[in-house]
């Protein structure tokens, strides 16, 4: 089980702020996870359609799409940040 958390319009489009899923053994990288999520339904495809803009954090650290998920226990997906 791995915890997924969503923010801003990613959260709104998926329709939930967090969930726990079982990661298939075939999924080892962030981009593999994004592809896997798109198969979970229309709302995921809508949220992740331009997946290149989606930012990812593994255990609270910014990560690239080609990063290995490794032992991360929390993965966050969100749009580019607009703080400050």
């Amino acid at each position: 089980m791995i915890k997924l958390v969503y923010f801003a319009w990613v959260r709104e489009r998926i329709g939930k702020s967090e969930e726990e899923i079982v990661l298939p053994e075939s999924v080892s990288t962030v981009s593999g996870l994004l592809d896997h999520l798109k198969e979970r339904g229309e709302e995921y495809r809508y949220a992740l359609e331009h997946s290149e803009v989606i930012r990812v954090a593994l255990d609270h650290r910014h990560s690239q799409h080609d990063a290995e998920i490794g032992n991360a226990s929390e993965i966050a997906l969100f749009p580019p940040m607009t703080g400050g």
Binding site: F7, A8, A57, H62, P79, M81, T82, G83, G84
Partner: protein
């Protein structure tokens, strides 16, 4: 140098924060503050709703503060970022950098803001006066470009 990082819904008191970095430290010669304020977007905006990623927001700002502390000889650094509903004229973010000399304080404060804009996990949604949601504020490529000037050769 110990940096103070706060992520909170309440407003902050700039004078009190400056005081924390100068009181009792007689080696401070320069204090620079940056305050980010909510604009009203030509009178259309009712409020900004600021969403954040609890836990990561603090950690990411702490990582940025640590970098600033390594890069400039600071005597103190404070960064406060608010979340929740913020109305035009209200404060959003505060950075206070103290140093012996002015250029270190100016550069560290500017560096903090550039990185907080593009790397701290906060998202702004606009709420207009007519009750409609203006949607999520788009990230500006200008803000990403602003990071380039800090890349060390």
């Amino acid at each position: 140098m110990i940096a103070t990082v706060l992520v909170q819904s309440e407003d902050f008191d700039i004078a009190a924060e400056i005081q924390k970095l100068t009181a009792g430290d007689r080696d401070v010669g320069a204090v620079v503050t940056f305050t980010g304020v909510c604009r009203d977007e030509a009178g259309k905006l009712s409020a900004l709703e600021l969403e954040h990623y609890p836990g990561m927001a603090e950690q990411e700002i702490e990582r940025i503060a640590k970098q600033a502390g390594k890069r400039w000889p600071l005597t103190g650094l404070i960064a406060i970022h608010r979340f929740g509903r913020i109305r035009p004229g209200e404060n959003i973010v505060l950075v206070v950098a103290a140093s012996k000399h002015r250029h270190a304080a100016f550069e560290a404060a500017s560096f903090m803001m550039d990185f907080m804009k593009s790397r701290a996990p906060f998202w702004k949604k606009e709420i207009f006066l007519d009750g409609t949601e203006g949607g999520w504020v788009d990230a500006r490529t200008k803000d990403d470009d602003a990071l380039d000037r800090w890349s060390e050769e």
